[in-house]
């Protein structure tokens, strides 16, 4: 899904009184144009600032329509800096003239307002960006340092304006000592604890990388166990049937190539289909009937894909060690989780008695479910069959 383009401020000549600045701003922020007009008129009475702002906005904000927008020159690099400085100095000259003529509120109000306007404009430009113009080549991507420095300048201007306003109104006099104390304490703490914090951050990053690598290794091992090792075991079983061995080898080669190339292949897209496909494979490879009942269905995501893989491994184990009895698979898609039960009526086994080097139950079922935030349990006892319970949250 493509993101909607950010709204762009434009003048609205269709509803203008003068240049459509107020109508454009009102449309952008979603208020009645009369509100914006009243604000400009009030600012105009306050030392003529409203006139200046309106004139600047009329010049800088493009009107609706492509013809007006196409005339906006594209500025970049040194040219943009010069234009910005030039406009800033001209506005400064205008403000100093007003100040000299007495059309002025107070320094404590006007200068913070100017700083806030400049900083806000910088931040607004960085957050909204410039709309793509027709017939313009694709702009070169900007260096992150340039974007950060402009954003930092905007933030500094706005903060400076706030501090200047508070200082001009003597609001900082009481808080100055407290702020100074806090700054000194913070500086001391940073100097003292910076090495430990830095080391801790590096350690956490290294640990996270190692955990990711470990999980990737476990996934790789589980996949190889479910595919290659099981096929090799089948090859040993059917060593007397060259055609069956060749067919197994071809199928395994196709599957392994598709997995290495990360091709989706003909994999099922829903849980019920995935379980059915796994049951068909197990029946074909091991000659044991597998009955699948699924209540509800869900599209496969990473978790339910792992669930289907673990269920397939449970089916394989039931077929191999269930003494030839039929395998029952029951799956239910609930609102909060997906559950799968794989049951056989074979001789059963003790999980603690499984050798450490056998990865089927420990890695392909229990480990896989744990890695994907699910749960798995094996209920079995000698002579009473085996039930594997699997669940992942939705």
């Amino acid at each position: 899904m493509s993101a909607r383009p950010a709204p762009v401020l434009r003048r609205d000549p269709a509803h203008r009184v003068l240049g459509g600045v107020c109508a454009g701003i009102a449309r952008q922020v979603g208020v009645d144009p009369l509100v914006v007009r009243i604000a400009f008129v009030a600012a105009a009475f306050a030392g003529g600032l409203g006139f200046v702002l309106y004139a600047v906005a009329w010049v800088l904000i493009p009107a609706d329509g492509e013809a007006r927008a196409a005339r906006v020159p594209r500025l970049a690099g040194r040219g943009a800096v010069e234009v910005a400085l030039g406009v800033g100095l001209l506005v400064l000259a205008l403000l100093l003239t007003f100040r000299a003529l007495g059309l002025w509120l107070t320094d404590g109000v006007v200068w913070p307002v100017v700083l806030v306007a400049a900083g806000g404009a910088l931040l607004w430009r960085e957050s909204v960006g410039r709309p793509p113009q027709p017939e313009e080549p694709e702009p070169r991507p900007e260096r992150p340092a340039a974007v950060v420095s402009r954003t930092g300048l905007g933030v500094a201007l706005v903060i400076g304006a706030g501090v200047a306003f508070l200082g001009a109104t003597n609001a900082l006099s009481g808080a100055r000592d407290v702020v100074l104390s806090v700054l000194v304490v913070a500086l001391v703490l940073v100097i003292v604890f910076a090495p430990w914090i830095l080391r801790l951050a590096r350690s956490l990053a290294a640990e996270r990388s190692e955990r990711i690598r470990s999980e990737e290794r476990a996934e790789l091992a589980a996949h190889l166990h479910d595919s290659v090792l099981q096929t090799l075991a089948l090859v040993q079983q059917r060593a007397g049937d060259p055609r069956a061995v060749a067919a197994l080898a071809r199928r395994q080669e196709r599957e392994l190539r598709a997995w290495l190339a990360q091709r989706p292949g003909t994999e099922a897209t829903h849980l019920a289909a995935a379980l059915e496909a796994a049951a068909v494979e197990v029946e074909r490879d091991h000659g044991v009937p597998v009955e699948v009942v699924v209540v509800g269905d869900a599209e496969l995501d990473e978790r339910s894909r792992a669930l289907a893989a673990a269920a397939r491994e449970a089916m394989v184990n039931a077929a191999k060690f269930g003494g030839g009895s039929a395998v029952d698979v029951f799956a239910e898609v609930l609102d909060h989780e997906v559950q799968v039960y794989v049951r056989d009526r074979g001789p059963g086994f003790e999980l603690a008695g499984v050798p450490e080097d056998r990865r089927g139950v420990r890695e392909s079922i229990l480990g896989r479910m744990a890695r994907h935030g699910g749960r798995a349990a094996v209920h079995s006892a000698p002579g009473q069959g085996t039930e594997v319970e699997l669940a992942v949250p939705r």
């Binding site: 500025l75 040219g79 234009v83 400085l85 406009v87 001209l90 000259a93 100093l96 100040r99």
Partner: protein, 59 residues
């Protein structure tokens, strides 16, 4: 073919000339030039020159 004047030089020259006229008026006593008036003039001079220079780089 006569060469086209460069916008930056043109604006800068005009503004410097205007600045000279203002200083001349101040020297003759017609104007009373103080810092409050001189500062905006200096800003206009530098700002307009920069603006002209920047706009000539567009493209």
């Amino acid at each position: 073919m006569p060469s086209r004047p460069e916008l930056t030089s043109l604006v800068c020259g005009l503004l410097v000339a205007l600045f000279g006229v203002v200083l001349l008026l101040d020297a003759t006593g017609t104007l009373d030039l103080r810092f409050a008036a001189l500062a905006p003039l200096a800003c206009v001079l530098v700002g307009a020159t920069l603006l002209a220079s920047g706009l000539t780089r567009r493209g």
